[in-house]
């Protein structure tokens, strides 16, 4: 894996981002600012699921109206994140926080998938309840935990404690 990443790191695009005074900060701040657009919006749905926020708003309405916005944020996150990885792949790959972050993203994705394939199918039955059923609350809590972990790992990745 490392030789491939070293090869990527030596490509002109990777060097250009890494050494640019402007490019790297711009990509990096886009990645951070999109937190509001992605994680912040997801958090609103999760907080609704655990029964903490927007308790009078039907769950299905939040899902229909806000999830497309979060999905847009996710695309920006992945593209800017991929560019950041591209700029220093070896450093990211060997970083423990980066690896944990990827696992947490996978878990968050599986949690969302499971939620949409199971409990959300019967949303009509609990759409307007201020306190959704236990399984929906669990899904919301899991999502909040996983995405918080992703943000924490993303931030910690910049520090070289374990390198």
């Amino acid at each position: 894996m490392i030789p491939l990443l070293q090869w990527i790191e030596a490509t002109s695009g990777s060097i250009a981002i890494r050494e640019s005074i402007l490019l790297y900060p711009v990509i990096e701040s886009t990645h951070v600012l999109t937190l509001g657009l992605f994680a912040g919006i997801i958090a609103l749905l999760d907080l609704r699921l655990v029964g903490a926020a927007l308790r009078t708003v039907p769950v299905s309405q939040i899902a229909t109206r806000l999830l497309p916005i979060a999905l847009g944020g996710f695309v920006i996150m992945v593209v800017s994140g991929a560019l950041l990885f591209y700029s220093s792949p070896v450093r990211a790959y060997t970083n423990i926080f980066f690896r944990v972050k990827l696992v947490l993203i996978l878990l968050a994705g599986l949690n969302a998938l499971l939620f949409h394939l199971t409990i959300f199918r019967d949303v009509a039955g609990w759409d307007t309840l201020a306190q959704p059923p236990p399984r929906a609350r669990m899904a919301g809590l899991a999502s909040l935990t996983f995405w918080s972990g992703v943000i924490i790992c993303g931030r910690m990745q910049a520090y070289k404690w374990f390198e």
Partner: protein, 145 residues
Amino acid sequence: MELLPLFQWFEATFIGTKVRESLWMFPVIECVHLLALALLGGTILAVDLRRLGLGLKEQNAADLNRQLHPWMSGSVAMLILTGIPMFLSEAVKCYYSPPFWYKMGLLAVAYTFTLRRRAESRPAAVVSLGLWFSVAFAGRWIAFY
């Protein structure tokens, strides 16, 4: 008035020294700062997009604002609470950092605008979004310049 001595004093405070000398305090505080930023971004987006006729458009705009207000002020409080120790730990660096001064200026304007506004107009929503995102953007750039 010369402000540098004041910023040097900030940096020498107990909290400033503790955070600066610790290996883990700054990163941990920064993580909480970022989590609060995500939540603030989400609530501001939901409220302002509604004012633009997007997002939760079936909801009454004022009611949505009222419901999300505790989350908004909660995250702003958390951002300020975590921002202060980070600032104290590197006050002199901030003094020389243009993005820091932009951030503080924009923050004052955004905060006043959000708390004082009565207008539910579309331009007000655009201004609010622009102001808050500029605050976050300038904040990220303190690390670069």
